[in-house]
């Protein structure tokens, strides 16, 4: 079976004068229907990577293969058809004058006949729970609602891959939860491959696998539980430290014998209770 995304020996430099490569000899593979989170502090090259995969930056060194199609000047639009992208700033990606216009934008670009377009716009809005807002203007929407509209715009064109470039980082906690819940639900329904670039611990925890990027290089990869074991070192990797990991570290330092693997809330609570009972 073809892989969703294959990146081989990718390097990228913004300009001749730049001191170092934004991406340095990176290789990895993402399977179909997989959810992969990419973490790294600001300036580590995450966004550059996402834009490169969608052909939004010129490909200089290396190979990018999306759904078996090798990215090149000639089949740029074919590759972009496989991918939907949600960017960081909710305002700066809202093209349409109203919600339904914005959702239709991708369909208009692909020349979809109007009758079908109306149907697909309605369906997409329903999936992100924004039907009631169809004729609203963006000025009257919250950040989280705008990001859900952006998701609807992507669902409408039915790509197989969803790339989230810090899509929740400018939202308030409520907006972030809503958007994340929508993504989880879409993933379950459509089996899209999801590549999410994030600092958010909940978003990272939703992934099947986490890639850690620093200085334009792939430094680590593993399941969330494996990566969360780094505890307080995670903050240097650009991710929030899971609360339970912080507490476990504090307790270990104080002399409490805890296992070295990552424990979520209920696991840590149970482990601590067992220790308490053995006192």
């Amino acid at each position: 079976m073809t892989k969703a995304i294959e990146v081989q020996n990718l390097s990228f430099r913004y300009s001749e004068e730049a001191k170092r490569n934004a991406i340095q000899d990176m290789s990895f593979t993402i399977e179909n229907d997989e959810w992969v989170a990419i973490i790294g502090h600001n300036g580590s090259g995450k966004s550059t990577l996402a834009k490169s995969i969608d052909g939004l930056l010129p490909l200089e060194k290396g190979t990018i293969i999306v759904n078996g199609i090798e990215l090149s000047e000639a089949n740029l639009w074919q590759v972009r058809d496989q991918i939907g992208m949600v960017f960081q700033n909710p305002d700066n990606q809202f093209v349409g004058a109203t919600v339904e216009d914005d959702v239709a934008f991708g369909l208009e670009n692909r020349g979809v006949p109007r009758a079908e377009m109306v149907q697909r716009v309605q369906d997409a809005l329903q999936r992100v729970n924004m039907t009631a807002f169809a004729t609203r203007e963006p000025a009257h929407l919250s950040g989280g609602q705008k990001q859900r509209v952006a998701l609807a715009g992507i669902i409408a064109v039915r790509p197989q891959i969803l790339i989230l470039d810090e899509a929740t980082s400018m939202l308030d906690p409520k907006g972030r939860q809503d958007v994340l819940a929508t993504i989880r639900q879409l993933k379950a329904e459509t089996h899209m491959t999801v590549l999410s670039i994030t600092h958010d611990i909940d978003e990272a925890a939703s992934a099947d696998r986490i890639l850690v990027i620093d200085d334009g290089q792939l430094k680590q990869q593993g399941t969330p539980a494996e990566i969360f074991r780094y505890g307080s070192r995670l903050i240097k990797m650009g991710l929030d430290v899971p609360y339970t990991a912080k507490v476990a570290e504090d307790l270990s330092t104080a002399g409490v014998a805890l296992p070295s693997q990552f424990l979520d809330e209920s696991e840590l609570a149970q482990t601590l209770w067992t220790l308490h009972s053995q006192m």
Binding site: K51, D54, L56, W77, R80, D81, I83, G84, M85, F87, N89, D91, N92, Q93, F94, V95, G96, A97, T98, E100, D101, A104, F105, G106, L107, E108, N109, R110, G111, V112, P113, R114, M117, V118, V121, E137, P138, A139, G153, V157
Partner: protein, 263 residues
């Protein structure tokens, strides 16, 4: 900031609100054309009644229409005075150097004044009852024939709709930056002209920077969503003529005939 005319759409569901934006836009242009048919008090009276009837059907208070006249009042008065003092004929009431106050001058001045007010009332009726976006659609429709002389109609229409969509965003941004600079001790609109101009620098530079950043982001997002120029695009927004639009057309034909008969 609230004085900006473009945002002054007043939501409603009156007969005028429900008309097709193309009807309203074309009718406004047509109205400006036929107003020049009027040349006596009967014709002006007919036009005045027609305009007041249109305003009444919009169910918007007359006060909003006066607000449309107010910013232009000096220009209107200037033009009216020119007419009054430089038109000759009829009984002369007063004379001084090159200035003459004559009967025809007064009559012409009054006509010009009424003409201005009527044109402003009618175009204000258009903007008060039509969302800017619908207006943009109407403009696109009217520009459509230019496609055959290779005028980029789709691109211009898209630009127009994006520009309208970003008006509130940029107004928020302007207010926010003004507040931030006020908090740093800037007095906007105080002091000498030089000081006032200088105080705009800390507003304009951040506004330009942020607008360029937005434009850059937007271009990337549009490309990612498959935008490759106007060719081969289909359209989601469409306009439909209704019976009401035909009635409006008919009423304008009748109006034209009456004006021609009465002049």
């Amino acid at each position: 900031m609230n004085k900006l005319l473009i945002g002054r759409y007043i939501p409603g569901n009156s007969f005028v609100h429900r008309l097709d934006p193309r009807t309203k836009l074309l009718a406004s242009f047509y109205y400006i054309g036929i107003i020049f048919l009027a040349d006596n008090w009967q014709t002006y009276l007919v036009l005045l009644l027609f305009t007041l009837a249109a305003i009444a059907m919009s169910k918007i208070k007359l006060g909003f229409f006066w607000k449309g006249v107010r910013p232009l009042i000096w220009l209107i008065l200037f033009t009216v005075l020119l007419q009054v003092f430089f038109t000759q004929g009829g009984h002369v009431y007063w004379h001084w150097g090159i200035f003459t106050l004559s009967q025809y001058g007064l009559i012409n001045g009054t006509y010009i004044f009424v003409r201005f007010v009527l044109i402003i009332f009618m175009s204000t009726l258009l903007t008060l009852t039509t969302p800017p976006l619908a207006l943009a659609d109407a403009v696109e429709y009217i520009l459509y024939p230019l496609k055959y002389v290779h005028f980029p109609v789709y691109e211009v229409a898209l630009m127009l709709s994006i520009a309208l969509r970003f008006v509130p965003t940029l107004m928020d941004e302007t207010e926010k930056i003004m507040n931030a600079q006020r908090a740093r001790g800037v007095d906007f609109g105080e002091g000498s002209l030089m000081q006032r101009i200088k105080s705009l620098v800390p507003l304009l530079i951040p506004l330009f920077v942020s607008s360029f950043n937005r434009a850059d982001d937007l271009a990337t997002a549009m490309e990612a969503r498959g935008y490759r120029g106007g060719e081969g695009r289909s359209k989601f927004r469409i306009l439909k003529w209704h019976a009401a639009d035909r009635w409006v057309g008919l009423s304008f034909i009748v109006l034209t005939i009456i004006l021609i008969v009465l002049r």
